[in-house]
Homo-oligomer: 233 residues x 4
């Protein structure tokens, strides 16, 4: 369980979704009113000993006194509260999505690996929720506003900041975070080629998403193996 | 023989053509009605023990009961059936080709290393063959439709999905898969530079293809050496 | 102290800001009229033994006679003289900023990680200061002219050359140099997407900059750890 | 001497100028009517034992009978014959220059590191010299035609193929090959930013080139060290 959460941190760094910033969490398997996430630490450094339990108000539960906590942990708490179907959340500055967050072209799925984008990718404008801020989701109200923008989607962009990616399992959230980044790169290239783009149709997206339920673990398993091999080295 | 097929899997991962998905096969050297391919496994993990023999209906022959098989193996079986001249097939989500699969600019060879593209690069539109699908070549009919689009060409794109690359030998199929990806990147850049593009003429393409018959093994040999060195480490 | 300066050299190479060229310096902690920088050497090779003390005229103080010195060290001396608030300076050929130095679109912050760009990114035109030169800041007058263009900003581009990045601490200068490069890449992509770009507002930039005061050490610490780990290998 | 030529092969692979193809040569230090180059082998595999001496007609002199020779060695022989000032030649499929070889925008220096491009970068159109060919410089006449297009410049592009880079020393030829590739990438990005580009003026280019006479060895030395370290591993 914590092994998977540690691996998720490593994988998202290896795949270029996280750098020294961003965080990934999972809902507590035994208590849906709690979630697990690393303490305030670069994702590449998170070990099992750094995993903290938080309640849905994002208060740490039983963490060592010397632990720091992510300022933006409300992203996670408020999404878990608003979305009972969600069991894992990734927040990142995934580089290729940033340009989509500050321009007007919506992200859409170019291929089946990103079919989970087909329900739409809303953009959260923090100015609407909080006026002129420091851009961070630093309190519960902003977390709730972000969760409201996310609504029932799988991915939401955050203007001038990054994105959030959710799923019902941790491996699926990691898979979606990686292929959101890949699709963003490919969509930029398709736009540069010019002319209309033949995106996945809604029905294709729906059917392809169901396939990913079966196939995403192939990626997860090899990513996890690589992450743990590197640690053992 | 299986060593080469294992190496082909590693090489295509190293060169960025395959990630955790996609597959490479070769026709059985002793029985043209059979082909060899890894079982359902990430390409980086395939070993000699994972190679399965399939008939042209893509039924496994003598594989261990616990082996899973690629859902899309019909790509391979139906191309081998339709193309007696083909002895190796690569199916990938080669990233730089995806944008070409969903826009209207045809892929064409920018330089001699991609001269095998000069006969044309058709795009398979699965909607024409199967209506609204999950985008996968999940049955023999879709495999036959893809083989029909490929016709006598060396490469076909699959809209919103990836591509197939074929050749009369495994090293040549790998070579073509790698330089299809490279040419796609270069063609995007040439388009961004603006103005007309001076592609290889048909006669240049034909002559340069013949040269690659002699020179492609230089790449194969060093790629294979690197792949096996990494395994030995 | 020198350990941090050695680490800064390694980090900027690892993050793609420096190649075999460019230099990073810090003001002497005990004597504000002096600064510390590696001798004329590729940044990846700098060790504690290569650190030289310079006065603000950029004369070396007590350096071994066989040491060479960077031709462009006046960049550092003149900025330290003009900017008492600055305690660290990076000069690089940071690749993604070069195109912005020779075209007319100003660099602006796309996201909070680059909020330190919000006061503006002036471009130094060496032709105005020195006519037709070899493009280098090879004397104190050119150093002063560059410092004048930089004024009270955090980053200035140098036309056809690179940039300078300053901060009140060495880790912050390194952080800003890295995210200037990242923001340049992202801004190019946003421009390619077309349409208006929703940059950080001035107030957002100001507030987000204050957050970085607290969070930049998370990046510095993991970058330094990686740099020193590589050295120990 | 041969150590430097072996290192040059490794460096050009490490820096992404050569892949499994391309070659680098140097004029024989003791006999200007001879040049030295690896036998027909991927550049990453060349060792001192693989270096062959050629006369200016590109006939091997005293090479083991089992050695193969590059089909395109006439590039080297004919340039050495036409350009007594040239002592090293790189031929590559340097990826970022390919798009410039097939479109109409001339390559020009964006920054001082590529100032050696300021005399102009001609494009060799093999159709003018040889009609419909296999794109290769496979005979002395084509080699002479390429040398004629190169004229007194430092770099010439070869349409649909790659480029040649020359200098009076081997380290300088390697330096120029690397920064030709870098400048091509940066020029593509500057073009994408839109509007006029402020290239180096001729006088700036001339002066900056003279500086590189002194500074290019900083890059060469660290590249060589890295290349030999990797070999020793």
């Amino acid at each position: 369980m914590t092994e998977d959460l540690v691996a998720a941190n490593r994988i998202l760094v290896n795949e270029g979704v996280l750098d020294a910033y961003g965080h990934v969490s999972m809902r507590h398997p035994a208590n849906p009113a709690r979630y697990l996430m690393g303490r305030n630490l670069a994702p590449a450094l998170v070990t099992a000993a750094d995993i903290v339990e938080y309640d849905l108000d994002s208060h740490p539960v039983g963490a060592p006194a010397n632990f720091g906590h992510f300022f933006e942990r409300f992203i996670h708490g408020e999404i878990y509260r608003a979305r009972p179907d969600v069991n894992a959340v990734v927040h990142s500055h995934s580089p290729a999505v940033i340009p989509f967050s500050v321009t007007e072209r919506p992200m859409r799925p170019l291929y089946h690996m990103a079919s989970f984008l087909h329900p739409g990718v809303p953009v959260f404008e923090i100015r609407q929720a909080g006026g002129m801020t420091d851009m961070l989701i630093g309190n519960p109200a902003l977390g709730r506003a972000l969760a409201k923008t996310l609504a029932d989607k799988n991915v939401a962009l955050m203007r001038g900041h990054g994105n959030v990616v959710v799923a019902d399992t941790l491996p699926m959230a990691v898979f979606r975070a990686v292929y959101t980044e890949v699709n963003a790169r490919l969509q930029m290239q398709a736009i540069a080629l010019g002319g209309p783009i033949n995106f996945l149709a809604a029905e294709e997206g729906e059917k392809a998403m169901r396939v990913l339920e079966n196939t995403h673990l192939r990626a997860w398993n090899i990513w996890k193996r690589t992450a743990l091999d590197n640690d053992a080295r």
